[in-house]
């Protein structure tokens, strides 16, 4: 199905992103640029306490303030909306868009005011008096499961809100028979994408028609649109949901906005008005979204020559105060690719999602994969050290062979294509591994602490909706009420206008991935025109744009599934045009070629029709069309994967549809005096199948690695022991600037086209965000080997590394 490269004129080229032409003019169209007549502005009152009972709320003074139009209070919520459900979580756990009688994290909304502008709305918040009864807070996964721990949701009687023991093969046997085992405890902290554009929602309610129109910088999946309709107790066809053309970054986090959408829609409904809510930075930090944190106990079994035979691990996941769908998928999204690129068969994961007095967790770039690969790549380095093997060598031994594809993982995934060893070889070569090791030895003699770290990972793209159902036990999935889930489709609409110009409509919610330009390249190739002649509108409107539950921009799905849908739709329209051309030119369709905006007869290019002419005929002169052919030139195609199957009774699931691969190698130097780490060299090799636009892919890779550098060395969603979020501004939540970002990465590609997608492409946007944290941690530990320092906890702040060095010294 995938086309050979030669055929494509535009796909594979670094065609510049048309979107940037509006961005550099300040003409992007973001949520805050949407304005409606006599629109009101909302502001939320948020809890200063991490855990407290709400004894009383008095908003009378606020309502009396000039310019204030209304207020919505927590206790009203259960009467007008439903609790959000989440897979594998007891319905007894109530999760509304606002705190009802108890606050469970600092920053949880307790009241929403609407006023003539945001200034007045915030003035009103100062006039609302809330009487709290503070309760002890718990912010540590393990402490939260102790006997006497404070309970967040009394109706559950425990803070363990989702638990699965997933077992493939026979782990106990493997460990009994293992030559060697290694184990450690790892702590992966919580960080997030913190897009520069915060969340925003506009809700317009028309009481006459009982009709709700929503605007939000939401990126999908549109399964959540059905979820929010349920929460609002409205029929889907009574809600029109529009996503602005431009979204100021998401990195997964904006999936979580549906909770705020419901709150703002409720206040708009209550007063029958149009209401705008633009979250501010502090609100985003305390109430936006963050990836879960994880405490892990990881054991690895292997043969004496370094062949991994099994992994047995237990996770305690920090998912925050509630379960915000698609959570608890932070633990299950990678389930099909838990084993990464390695060929071992026996694995047990004891997954525990723990409620804590923190903001609930949400999907973020790499969704779950970076935590899994951190555990596996760290423990693998420990195994290598124990066996006195080189980290590259031990990985090479365990990687799946080229001839094993398509490869069935023990956990149910089908890796569609790949050549993992070639990626590792290429990375080693680009990095000049041997030379760097020599340099490291020399530096050690001079007392310098230089380290090299390697990490490899399978990069899943296009989630199969079935991944969500791993959270259910097989028993729960056997119940009659349970609706099986699967699929990962996307829809595109292509039309050729009477004058022969091409317009494509997508609903893939671009948030920085240049969807419009990529689709223009793909469709231009299909018609044999230039991308400049293809207009692409990527703007979801649930009332007019076709979509499926999986539609959206997440799990690196666009390059794989959306381009497939667009190419198919374009081919269908082109086929029709070929038929018309053949009919008019009295040739057989097989002999008609399309190029440079012309349809011509193979062999005799002068016998041709322009696209304009063919299109004109289809629209203006149906009489001349082949008999039975319908008027016009447009079609809508949905591409879905046959591989998107539902989960099996033994928890095997193809959790994604296409699977890329990456290898990262980092060299760092640690300053033992300050604990500060310098990045000396970073090499990253990717297999994303067919590369659609090298420049766009390069941009995603630089972005992903810079975010990981932030996550590993700078960024920390820090809560103090009382549950206060103490990094609620960009002065304390430290995103890398141009000074901290890597100046240059050595990037390499290995292309094994996917047999499943139309162009052979796979996703590549999450990419190194999954492996970089492990590579950097491995490098830092390698640098600190002379001091016997073990790295099993993130983030690696200068203070932390300095501390570890001091402790190691005292040990000696």
């Amino acid at each position: 199905m995938s086309k050979e490269k030669g055929q494509s004129k535009w796909v594979g080229k670094s065609y510049p992103a048309k979107e940037i032409l509006r961005y550099v003019r300040g003409r992007g169209e973001y949520i805050d640029d949407v304005k409606l007549p006599n629109m009101l502005h909302a502001a939320d009152l948020r809890s200063p306490y991490a855990h407290a009972r709400i004894k009383n709320i008095d908003a009378d003074k606020a309502l009396k303030l000039k310019g204030v139009k209304g207020v919505l209070l927590g206790h009203e919520i259960p009467d007008i909306s439903n609790s959000f459900p989440a897979a594998g979580v007891s319905p007894k756990l109530k999760f509304y868009s606002m705190a009802v009688d108890k606050v469970r994290y600092m920053g949880e909304p307790v009241a929403t005011v609407i006023a003539k502008n945001r200034y007045v709305a915030e003035d009103a918040l100062d006039l609302i008096h809330v009487e709290y009864e503070p309760l002890p807070a718990v912010v540590d996964q393990e402490k939260a499961l102790e006997e006497d721990a404070p309970i967040l949701h009394e109706e559950l009687g425990t803070n363990l809100i989702n638990h699965r023991v997933l077992h493939w093969g026979d782990v106990d046997k493997v460990f009994r028979e293992a030559d060697v085992t290694v184990e450690d405890r790892f702590v992966f902290h919580s960080y997030a994408g913190t897009p520069i554009e915060n969340f925003g929602v506009i809700a317009k309610f028309d009481p006459g028609e009982d009709f709700l129109t929503l605007w939000a910088n939401f990126v999908g999946p549109f399964s959540l649109y059905f979820l929010l309709a349920m929460a609002l107790r409205m029929r889907e066809n009574k809600i029109r949901f529009i996503v602005p053309r431009d979204i100021g970054g998401s990195f997964g986090i904006k999936c979580g906005i549906f909770v705020d959408i419901v709150r703002i829609a409720l206040v708009a409904k209550k007063y029958g008005r149009a209401v705008k809510w633009i979250q501010d930075r502090r609100e985003h930090m305390v109430g936006g979204g963050r990836h879960s944190g994880r405490i892990s106990y990881v054991k690895m079994a292997a043969t004496k020559d370094g062949i991994i035979t099994g992994i047995d691990e237990k996770w305690y996941e920090d998912v925050g105060a509630y379960m915000r769908a698609p959570e608890p998928a932070c633990m299950y999204r990678p389930s099909g690719n838990y084993v990464g690129g390695y060929s071992f068969k026996d694995l047990r994961v004891d997954a525990n999602a723990v409620a804590l007095n923190k903001l609930e967790s949400a999907p973020y770039r790499g969704y779950g994969c970076h935590l899994v690969y951190f555990n596996h790549e760290r423990i693998l380095d420990m195994l290598a050290r124990k066996l006195d093997m080189d980290p590259v060598e031990i990985r090479m031994k365990n990687l799946i062979n080229k001839d094993q594809f398509p490869y069935e993982t023990p956990t149910g995934a089908t890796y569609d294509s790949g050549d993992y060893k070639a990626c590792l070889r290429k990375a080693v070569e680009l990095f000049e591994y041997e030379k760097m090791r020599k340099m490291q030895k020399q530096a050690k003699k001079d007392g310098r602490l230089i380290g090299i770290g390697v990490a490899a990972g399978v990069d899943p793209s296009v989630s199969n909706m079935a991944y969500i159902t791993v959270a259910y036990t097989p028993e729960e999935r056997a119940e009659a009420s349970y609706l099986p889930k699967s699929g990962g489709g996307e829809t595109a609409f292509v039309k050729v206008d009477p004058s022969g110009t091409i317009t494509v409509s997508m609903g893939t919610c671009q948030s920085g991935q240049s969807h419009e330009s990529t689709i223009a390249q793909v469709v231009a190739d299909e018609f044999g025109v230039s991308p400049a002649e293809v207009t692409v509108i990527d703007q979801m409107d649930t009332a007019t744009h076709p979509f499926c539950v999986s539609t959206g921009s997440y799990s690196s799905r666009f390059a794989s599934v959306a381009t497939s849908a667009a190419a198919l739709a374009a081919r269908k329209v082109k086929e029709k045009m070929v038929k018309i051309a053949a009919h008019v030119l009295e040739a057989s369709p097989e002999d008609i070629m399309a190029a440079d905006g012309k349809f011509f007869v193979k062999g005799s290019p002068d016998i041709s029709l322009s696209m304009k002419r063919v299109a004109g005929t289809a629209h203006w002169d149906p009489g001349s069309l082949p008999s039975g052919m319908e008027v016009g030139l447009s079609t809508q195609e949905t591409f879905n994967f046959e591989t998107s199957k539902t989960i099996t009774a033994d928890d095997k699931v193809n959790s994604s549809n296409t699977y890329g691969f990456m290898v990262d190698i980092a060299a760092v130097e640690v300053d033992p005096n300050t604990g500060k780490v310098d990045l000396l060299k970073y090499t990253t090799v990717h297999d994303v199948g067919t590369v659609l636009n090298p420049k766009f892919l390069e941009g995603q890779i630089y972005g992903a690695i810079t975010q990981s550098i932030g996550g590993v060395f700078y960024e920390d969603y820090a809560y103090d022991e009382n549950g206060q979020m103490v990094a609620a501004s960009f002065a304390d939540y430290l995103c890398p600037t141009a000074k901290e970002a890597p100046k240059k990465l050595d990037i390499g590609h290995v292309e094994t086209p996917s047999p499943l997608t139309v162009l052979g492409s796979k996703g590549g946007a999450e990419s190194s965000n999954e492996t970089c944290p492990a590579a950097l941690a491995n490098a830092v530990e390698d640098a600190l080997l002379p001091l016997d320092v073990t790295i099993n906890e993130l983030p690696l702040t200068p203070n932390k590394i300095w501390q570890l060095i001091q402790e190691a010294k005292e040990q000696k």
Partner: protein, 291 residues
Amino acid sequence: MKPCAFEYFDPQSVEEVFKLLDKLGDDAKILAGGQSLLPMINFRLARPEVLIDINKLDELDYIKEENGYICIGALTRERAIEDSELIKSKIPILSEAVKYIAFLPIRNKGTLGGSIAHADPSAELCLMMIALEAQIKIESSQDARWVDAEDFFLTYLTTVIEPHELITEIRMPIPAAETIHSFQSFSRRHGDFAIVSVAVVLEINDDGICEGAKIALGSVNPTPLRVAEAEDMLIGKKLDAKLIEAVANETAEASDPDPDLHSSADYKREMARNFTKKGLMQVLKRFEENA
């Protein structure tokens, strides 16, 4: 994040400012560059009832040399100090230090008077006032007084300025020709508040004997810290590795840092030692280069 309502005045002269301060006193807050105050106002941490915007007081915007002093008007922008040829030639360490303040757009608006009135113990300019033995002119409708930087800072965000007073000028003696200096700053990211910053200003004669010494640290104390004990150890001595080590230790001893999200007290103290050492090393290196 929108400011609370406040009354706003933008007087055209210092006299007008004094009149307003006499009338409004404690309810009023002076708005200079606003790069520290406005974030606090946007967060609604600061809720002043009245803002007195002094940005129209061009009379307070100058850098000049006057009988052995560099005199800087309170409203002089950090950027102007950074670019001033006079300061580059007479007090180069000041130009160096200013570069560490946040980012250019912030320095374009931030003022010297505003920064020291805010008295953040991590602020580079507060540290430099101590290190350069600056004097601060504080005026009111009633009188004018000069306060030594040493006595100016009381504790976190607190100075000797009374509600009815205004900083009008800062002057600092021009260091002797044989002065060699080093400014060290260590922070999580470029432009962040320093974990520690150190200013070392030494007078070293041709024989390499240290005749005068000033060592001051930022972010290791409720106010910028001048370490007399460490300075005394240097007077009359030649700089060498051993002495530098000892002085650095003394400085660390003298610091009394408070922990924050990014660094423990122990870590800050250790960094004080490290960067004092680095500073003294650089001074030694610079001396040897000159000689």
